[in-house]
């Protein structure tokens, strides 16, 4: 790596008032033609480009981003990382990602601030208890760490939780994955962008895709706001806008794009050193390194591309947070925002070829894509480079909606996404 970050580079740059740090990634104009183009410069798209260049030796590639990199859902999520999914296919996919997370800072020479502080999922009724215990067993059979905690153990692990039996949704226990945790979301995008750019990937910002040029059953290039760019491999990683891009190629996807909201509080001293999620009341909370409480809410029920979301959703989430953590009753919220998430009917992603040659889609991550960023990029790069899925993403093909072989994480597991 040309400009390796280290304690020595830090000292050297400190002596020159930090004025001589080099640009972390380039800002090129698009070339006329690329071997492959990734549409979408979020974490997943940049990771895809990074692994295409690193593992599959494709050097002439571009990432097109209509805004700025990491300005979409990568910078809008609540940064939770875990792999405790019920089904074998999901467990394989998300644990592959978790293993990559564990070495990502070293791999990228960029501190992604991955913190394995544990993720606890709460059970509030008998069915939750049964489902979560079942999931614990399924996780262990797949080699994923998971333990069941009873109410006293939950209280001991996170003392600020109200475990009183007379609240509306009493805490009957929970599961804990200790290897799970959080990471700095922006750093993930920046780290992959820097790594990809170093290997010659063109990262082109403020370049929106306006059309896909087809010749029969294969793709020939992209119409963009910076002109026509020729390529015969297009990987679309456009999250909430996947259907918009698909429509350009005359494809329909099994997706609905909905606003998902999050909010952060004013910063306070360390009070919660883990991540606590609750599906039944739809409230997730953790604390950032700056001290803000990071709170995740639910999605709206309707399709929208407004990046706003409804107040009643936030209100319901905060009601639940207040009942579970009475200590937060006087906290002030600083910011609230929305991101547009693309949700599949089975709440599992699509990392797949399509019936158009050279057109690949990585979408449908719904409300939980951040945790999969490295794994998603790695597997999508494999799929694009070989024109065949890796065995870990074979189940997440587009054809499952025709064959009926769904990976039903929504209904069966009540897993938060």
């Amino acid at each position: 790596m040309k400009n390796k970050y280290s304690v020595f580079s830090l000292i050297k740059n400190a002596l020159s008032q930090h004025e001589n740090w080099q640009q972390a990634w380039g800002n090129p104009e698009p070339k006329k033609e690329y071997e492959a183009i990734i549409v979408g410069g979020g974490g997943h798209g940049l990771a895809t480009a990074y692994y295409l260049a690193k593992k599959h030796n494709l050097k002439n590639i571009a990432v097109l981003e209509k805004g700025w990199i990491g300005g979409g859902n990568t910078g809008r999520n609540t940064t939770i990382i875990r792999s405790n999914y019920l089904w074998d296919a999901s467990a394989g996919l998300y644990d592959h990602a978790l293993k990559l997370w564990e070495n990502l800072s070293q791999e990228l020479n960029y501190n992604v601030m991955f913190s394995q502080r544990g993720v606890m999922n709460l059970a509030h009724n008998l069915q939750d208890v049964r489902d979560l215990k079942r999931r614990t067993h399924a996780n262990r059979l797949n080699g994923i760490d998971a333990v069941w905690l009873n109410t006293e153990e939950v209280k001991k692990f996170c003392p600020i939780i109200n475990t009183s039996p007379d609240i509306r949704y009493p805490v009957l226990g929970g599961t804990l994955q200790r290897r799970a945790g959080t990471a700095r979301h922006d750093a993930v995008a920046w780290g992959y962008a820097r790594g990809a750019s170093e290997m010659g990937v063109d990262i082109i910002q403020n370049c929106e895709v306006k059309g896909i040029k087809r010749n029969g059953d294969r793709v020939e290039g992209l119409e963009t706001t910076k002109g026509f760019i020729k390529t015969n491999k297009i990987g679309v990683v456009a999250a909430g806008h996947s259907s918009v891009i698909a429509n350009m190629a005359g494809l329909k996807l099994p997706l609905e794009s909905k606003p998902l909201q999050a909010l952060v509080s004013e910063p306070v001293k360390p009070i919660i050193d883990t991540v606590v999620m609750s599906n039944a009341v739809h409230a997730y909370v953790s604390q950032s390194d700056k001290g803000e409480l990071v709170i995740g809410a639910g999605t709206d029920s309707y399709v929208s591309y407004t990046q706003r979301g409804s107040h009643n959703i936030v209100e319901e989430t905060l009601k639940a947070i207040l009942e579970l953590y009475p200590i937060f009753s006087r906290m002030k919220m600083l910011r609230q925002w929305g991101g547009i998430v693309d949700i599949c009917p089975d709440a599992s992603p699509i990392i797949s070829k399509t019936n158009i040659k050279g057109l690949y889609f990585n979408c449908g991550w719904g409300t939980g894509g951040f945790k999969a960023t490295p794994g998603s990029g790695d597997l999508f790069a494999h799929t694009i480079a070989n024109d065949e899925p890796h065995k870990l993403n074979a189940a997440f093909n587009l054809n499952r909606f025709v064959s009926g072989d769904l990976v039903d994480e929504h209904g069966a597991a009540a897993v938060a996404h």
Binding site: P254, L255, V303, Y305, P345, V402
Partner: protein, 93 residues
């Protein structure tokens, strides 16, 4: 967050309603004749439009009746409301 003009109750807060998704997806007349592709199209594939979309809503915390609306999903503006069984307004595409 927006207001919806229920054709039966008048203007109410959106939180009183529940969205039924894309409108005018016709239930297959002969389900036994359908191929897997046609089932997938009917059950799962959605236009998911950024722009003007026709959709079904239910006034679930009100009169509990279903109706259709035309809404711009890029800014949540409601352009038209019409009852179930009525033809969609022709001036939107």
């Amino acid at each position: 967050m927006f207001l919806i003009n229920c054709p039966f109750c008048g203007e109410r807060d959106q939180s009183e309603f529940s969205s039924g998704g894309e409108a005018h997806i016709v239930r297959p007349k002969q389900p036994t004749e359908l191929s897997d592709d046609e089932w997938a199209e009917y059950l799962f594939m959605r236009k998911n439009i950024k722009g003007i979309q026709f959709e079904r809503w239910n006034h679930v915390h009100g009169c509990r009746k279903w109706f259709n609306i035309v809404r711009d999903t890029s800014n949540d503006k409601i352009l038209s409301v019409y009852k179930m069984g009525e033809k969609p307004p022709v001036n939107y595409k």
